[in-house]
């Protein structure tokens, strides 16, 4: 019997084990034979005889396999248990996706760390300057986060575009969807662009707003107005300091 045949015989009744567990058993026995072999070779044994002697010392591979299988006999039930857990998780995720809750919570989370860099409706042409920002304001239970300002050309006019996302303070909360409808972007002379565009769901909304700017302008103003509440945020323009 070769080492390979020996190992195969040990493993053959171990069908219930995972591939990883079977591999671990094989490896461990192989290592044992390796150590025993080395000891015999050091004593001056012939390699072929040494292997024969090693395998003989190991014992009956069929019996080792049977005994090993006995140690894992509870595994059938374990598998059933695992399958049940996986099934439950899958069903729950499906259900959450179905009601849109998970998708909304996911968006609510991602905008905190990685908000979208392009918002299709608010494209600027010939972008001269762009700057990352992190200006936050609390509006009710929601957080408005302004994260990028760029200066370029919009409809043949020099303009600043501001990207912002809004989300509820809590990942599973719901953001007020009229947040951007009530927001406007002004330049220093009180001019505004026609409102930009955005997208989102109950978890997070993102939008681009723009306002015309001229050389020398240092900032634009984000204004949110609702009954009983007004927020004004001054947003520095990229390169504004040198221009000023």
């Amino acid at each position: 019997m070769t080492r390979q045949e020996f190992l195969d015989q040990v493993l053959s009744p171990l069908g219930r084990l995972t591939a990883q567990e079977r591999e671990n058993v094989r490896r461990e026995l192989e290592e044992h034979v390796e150590d025993r072999m080395e000891a015999l070779l050091e004593m001056g044994w012939d390699a072929e005889l040494a292997e024969e002697r090693c395998l003989e010392a190991m014992g009956d591979p069929a019996e080792i396999g049977r005994e090993m299988a006995r140690q894992y006999r509870g595994k059938g039930w374990l598998w059933l248990g695992r399958a049940a857990v996986v099934l439950t998780v899958v069903v729950c995720i499906q259900a959450l996706l179905g009601v849109g809750m998970l998708g909304a919570a996911w968006d609510s989370l991602t905008v905190r760390f990685n908000p979208p860099r392009t918002i299709s409706i608010g494209e600027l042409k010939n972008v001269e300057a762009e700057e990352e920002l992190d200006i936050r304001a609390e509006i009710g239970n929601d957080i408005l986060r302004i994260y990028q300002v760029s200066v370029g050309e919009k409809d043949g006019q020099r303009a600043a575009m501001v990207l912002a996302c809004a989300y509820d303070r809590w990942p599973f909360g719901i953001v007020v969807d009229s947040l951007f409808g009530r927001s406007e972007l002004w330049n220093e002379r009180g001019e505004t662009g026609t409102s930009g565009g955005g997208s989102g769901n109950s978890g997070a909304v993102c939008a681009a707003l723009w306002a015309p700017v001229e050389t020398g302008d240092t900032h634009v103003i984000w204004e949110y107005r609702a009954i009983g509440e007004a927020v004004r945020l001054e947003i520095p323009l990229p390169g504004g300091e040198e221009a000023a």
Binding site: D35, R36, M68
Partner: protein, 110 residues
Amino acid sequence: MKKQAIEHTRLLALSLLAGEDMYGYQMIVELARRSNHTFDMKEGTLYPVLHGLEQEGFVEAYRKQAPTGRERKYYHLTRKGQGALREEEAAWRRYSGAVNDVLRGGAEAV
């Protein structure tokens, strides 16, 4: 009798691991040395015993480089395993004590 042999191996394995963490081959060598080669067990049968102890939480396995420079699967006696060792050791002492008592009785009768 075979069942008995397995139980012995359990006790011996637990007892060996009480001193230090060891890998299978090392345990066989150590067992032969300490027992003056009395326990001439089939070496492969140690592994089902070790895996059984692992399943029961009496030992934990991890891989580490052995003094030979090669990585081996080491076994470590857990707290639960220490408890099992104490119990099995006590049971063994009761058993071997009883055997001795009987043997002494036989010797006196002769």
